[in-house]
Subunit: 451 residues, 2 copies
């Protein structure tokens, strides 16, 4: 027999968006219950324990300028930030040659450099015309949504170096290949995060700072506040609207509520049986927002040896398998940690290898750019979000061509007593923790206004 | 307590593919059990009862030249075919003007006509270089897979008339908008069905003939042969491979088998919990093959009045909501039936209307091209496959850009004891009933070879 539970509002999903929504409701005197499929909260944020009270994130982790809502929340919860380590030079491996450089843009031949500069400016100038709240109404939206980022790059970029570097940047931001992503959607996404540089930069950009104690701590603290209003191990399988109430089947629970906030990535919504069925556009939107392919690899060393050699730990590695690395050491610099992203097509090749092959090839890539000490790894941690049943990929659920113009309007539109949250529904910093917080706040406000 | 069941091979999905696979296995002396989520067999084929022993299909229905496997199966089952009614002239409504024409190509200004002719030839010549068994290895596959059909049309077609007619053709074939579909995938799909004309033509093409008794009769007859080896109302929710056996949870059944054939559209596979998890590329393929938007509308009249007026019943209607119609009357021409497809962007607009608004606007469109008698509808039937929980859209689950090159190889590759069937996995006539039959035969052969 299922256990029965009543609440004013049910929230499906105990990631950052769902927890924030529940917190806002509870603060307004409305009783929420959060139904989380996993045995933990935090969704796409996840701390891995390094011992001695230290952690490293194997999910979303950074915070940067204008990400005001997640910053405010962390601050309320007493969670500090610290700057991502950036001192020293970055490394570029491109077509077999390794060079050092400073800042975001590596040293390249002048033609490639000029092409990248033009592409960045062009992206930002096109993006400025895409309205954040309704990207499908941009001038020329139909045409931009028939194109992929990859098609646009093939037409606009002549040099292989410029193409390859932009491809790596796109894969690192979206987890998906340029060929997969709608140009209209990408422009909207860049604008939602303040522009191209804002998304790809460390200092002054989305990778500027980190949270002391790891980003999952935000979710853990909010869940602590909510106490037994958060139920773990309760995957929702059925949502029924009947007689002005919502009834939810989640694991062995039957939950009755006045409204429900669904704080899951759109693609996961297809697993739920909706009674009555969702509007066709919402059903089909869930079929049209695949996850990127994203593997986060963590190499732990006795110390951040690259710093003594004048390196920042940031690298772009053409031959992969990880094409982007960062210094991800704890605030005190001990142990030394390199974070390496394997994404898009490189992720698919990587996934076909055995566990030991993956580790070996990943570390070999690090040793190529950081030297032989890169082989002396004390611990190797790997998180492939495509293997997580309750996620399915990472870092985001993105839009292929035709989706923004054909189905985009369904992403936030309430369906009767159902409201939608999750970073994919955010109008600012979509795809980031900040977008998740904003979406939770917005969904809670919708519910509060409706009652 | 779940009921327990044993079989040599479990088949998930009682559409045409799954039933054919089970039939092949049974004929080879291997005992199958078919697990079907619905309370009926036939998947995307479905007969609607017209009374007096007559039916009309509200799912897949046609059969044409070179669709040899479904033709052979129907013949073995004693199911006859009859030609789609095509005598008389077709009608074109384009930009407010209505004209009559004969054959596949309407009367247009010479420039538009020439453009369409060039586009058809270009599609076929590009398609010829796409290998059916491995489209991702086509010359120039990467580039073709960064483009959408819509982007290709915008660059290649200058006249609005040519663009609009090709758009209607693409929507009728795929259910999706040109902006949604990978050019590489579309070329492969055209080639798998024998070329552009083969897919869009009635006489000599995929719409040439129909089955007496309705296409679902094929599945009903095969299910009859299989008897109690077909279990209805048993949606699979969990597939576990353990100790060289497969264990499947389906409704209130626990099924144990040596192998399993999964005969579902790829996108539906995400609803199943796979233990151990599927390879990431297969998981993410399921996120990347959305359904088209396809509504099949049936207007029933006392008689096929258009025939007496020299019309075939075939029409292309620019202002919609249905953009394509056919004479869908039973073999004896009584009652008279017009079949009207609402697809792609037109489907989304149509879905937002009320039931009575949809009926009214649909019939108004028919009356515009077939005259006032088009309003004297005796019965109106409508099937929106996006509202079917165990389908999700129609007519096919297609590929956006990047999917064929990035994930295509996973579509048929067995995963341990799991084999894949369904028309989307076919190398010939993918998307059609013939492809479903071929895929079922191929999956059964894989299983038989493996034991």
């Amino acid at each position: 027999m299922p256990r029965e539970l009543e609440a004013d509002v049910a929230v499906i999903g105990g990631g950052l968006a769902g927890l924030v929504a529940a917190r806002e409701l509870a603060r307004a005197g409305v009783s929420p219950v959060v139904l989380e499929a996993r045995d933990r909260v935090g969704g796409r944020t996840l701390n891995a324990d390094l011992g001695e009270g230290k952690v490293v994130e194997i999910g979303g982790q950074w915070v940067g300028p204008t990400q005001d809502r997640v910053a405010a929340l962390a601050s309320e919860l007493g969670i500090q930030t610290f700057p991502t380590h950036i001192e020293g030079q970055n490394v570029l491996e491109l077509r077999g040659r390794t060079t050092r450089y400073s800042g975001t843009i590596p040293r390249l031949n002048p033609v490639s450099l000029a092409e990248i500069e033009v592409a960045r400016r062009r992206i930002d100038s096109l993006a400025k015309r895409v309205p954040l709240e309704a990207p499908w109404s941009a001038p020329d939206a139909e045409r931009l949504d028939t194109m992929t980022v990859g098609g646009w790059m093939r037409r606009g970029l002549r040099t292989r170096s410029a193409r390859r570097l932009l491809e790596i940047a796109v894969r690192t931001v979206f987890g998906a290949d340029p060929a997969d992503i709608s140009l209209l959607y990408a422009l909207w996404y860049f604008r939602a995060g303040g522009g191209f540089d804002s998304l790809v930069d460390t200092e002054g950009g989305a990778q500027q700072d980190r949270f002391v104690g790891g980003s999952q701590l935000i979710s853990l603290r909010v869940a602590e506040e909510l106490g037994d209003r958060v139920v773990l191990g309760a995957p929702a399988t059925r949502v029924e609207q009947r007689d002005g109430r919502v009834r939810i089947r989640a694991g062995d629970l039957d939950v009755a509520a006045s409204r429900v906030i669904v704080a899951m990535a759109p693609v996961l919504c297809d697993r739920i049986e909706w009674v009555p069925g969702l509007p066709p556009a919402r059903t089909q939107l869930a079929q049209r927002m695949p996850w990127g392919s994203y593997i986060k690899c963590i190499a732990v060393y006795d110390e951040p040896f690259w710093r003594a050699e004048g390196l920042s730990g940031e690298a772009v590695i053409d031959a992969g398998p990880a094409t982007t690395t960062f210094d991800n050491s704890p605030p005190d610099g001990s142990p030394g940690i390199l974070l390496a992203f394997v994404s898009g097509a490189e992720a698919r090749a990587f996934q076909r290898l055995s566990t030991s092959q993956r580790r070996a090839t990943l570390i070999e890539g690090l040793a190529r750019v950081f030297g032989d000490r890169g082989r002396r790894v004390e611990r190797y941690i790997e998180q492939d979000w495509a293997r997580e049943r309750f996620t399915g990929g990472g870092p985001i659920s993105f839009m292929p061509p035709g989706v923004q113009t054909g189905f985009g309007a369904a992403i936030r539109e309430p369906v009767g007593l159902i409201h939608w949250a999750g970073t994919e529904t955010a109008e600012r910093w979509s795809g980031y923790m900040d977008g998740a917080v904003r979406s939770g706040e917005r969904a809670a406000a919708e519910v509060l206004e409706s009652t």
